[in-house]
Amino acid sequence: MIDEYFSLALDLSVAMIKNGGETYRAEECARNILAAGGAQEIEVLALPTGITITAGYNGKNITRVRSLKMRINNLGNIDSINTISREVSAGKMQPAEAISALQKIEGSQRSIFRRIIFASLTSGMFTLMFGGSYTEFALALVIAFFAQLFIAQLKRIGTVAFLSNMGGSILTALTARLFLLIFPEISISVIIIGGIMPMLPGLATINAIRDTLYGDLVSGAARGIEALLSAIAIAAGVGIVLAV
């Protein structure tokens, strides 16, 4: 029985970190579930690269570790995982049910096309917000659509996140410059800014700040560096094209 709670606690907290939840939330999540399973002396150490859980049960100490390499951002998943964790700790849900519910969440992939379409709409709207004309809005829409498609393809063949974002920003700047040849009156700045907006590491930055605030200094620093690196990768991608 306690084994099930252990697996669930590991799965949930790993999933929480993987989808971009805060570190303290992942720790609390594991702690609550183990407490619901009747364990004592629970200690959880969550880092962006792995999780260690140790707890006593019936006079025995159990420790389990899981490492984590892939990190994605999915706010909807964080919310669902949080709900599962709350229900298990309140005793409303059995661990076996929770594990299958978690697998369902992990397995369900929202259609990539929907995400791409909304990302390109975001880019178009940002172009308008930064003072672009309607021609520029339309161009930003098209450019961001292809850039996001490109990023999704790069991610699917398993490139590092920095490289896929860099590829996306190179493509954005390149197509913007090509469109400048066709439509000489447009300003490519607003189009490129709009195009790179969905790629910027906003969630990683906010998580870095919040983790540092809650005392998870290691996670905060690691996430800050992750955010900084991907911002530099995006900027470098644009810079390469504009410098030519």
């Binding site: 971009g20 964080i78 917000m129 700045s189 906010i206 700040i209």
Partner: protein
């Protein structure tokens, strides 16, 4: 709700920028005004606060500044580039302080408050 907060935050940003002429003050207050209700709202619907904050402050992210920095560096203009990157960092620092402040308020004021409200509704049932 989150897009609405984004709108309010950007509105405050514009108003404060016009009133004080400072981007940094504007970024601070814009982020603060967007984040404080976000923390409260997250506790009402019982969802992680990051989910809402992230969406609300997207319009304030200094994308233009980052781009201009890149443009200067690409053009070998390192003086303007360094000036611009420091401005970007200070701007994001202002946003970070505002996020931190609202998270503190959430932790110290909202959490006990909502616990009290929850207990009250539970005792009524």
């Amino acid at each position: 709700m989150a897009p609405l907060l984004g709108l309010i935050g950007y509105l405050v940003f514009t108003v404060v920028r016009n009133a004080t002429g400072s981007d940094y003050t504007a970024a601070f207050f814009g982020t603060l005004v967007a984040c404080l209700p976000a923390e409260a709202f997250a506790r009402i619907i019982k969802t992680p606060a990051t989910v809402i904050i992230f969406i609300s402050i997207i319009p304030l992210v200094p994308g233009i500044m980052l781009y201009q920095t890149m443009l200067y560096f690409a053009g070998n203009d390192f003086n303007s580039g360094s000036t611009q990157i420091i401005r970007t960092l200070v701007y994001s620092g202002c946003m970070a302080i505002a996020i931190t402040l609202s998270a503190m308020v959430g932790k110290l004021i909202y959490t006990p408050l909502f616990k009290k409200i929850n207990d009250k509704t539970r005792s009524k049932q």
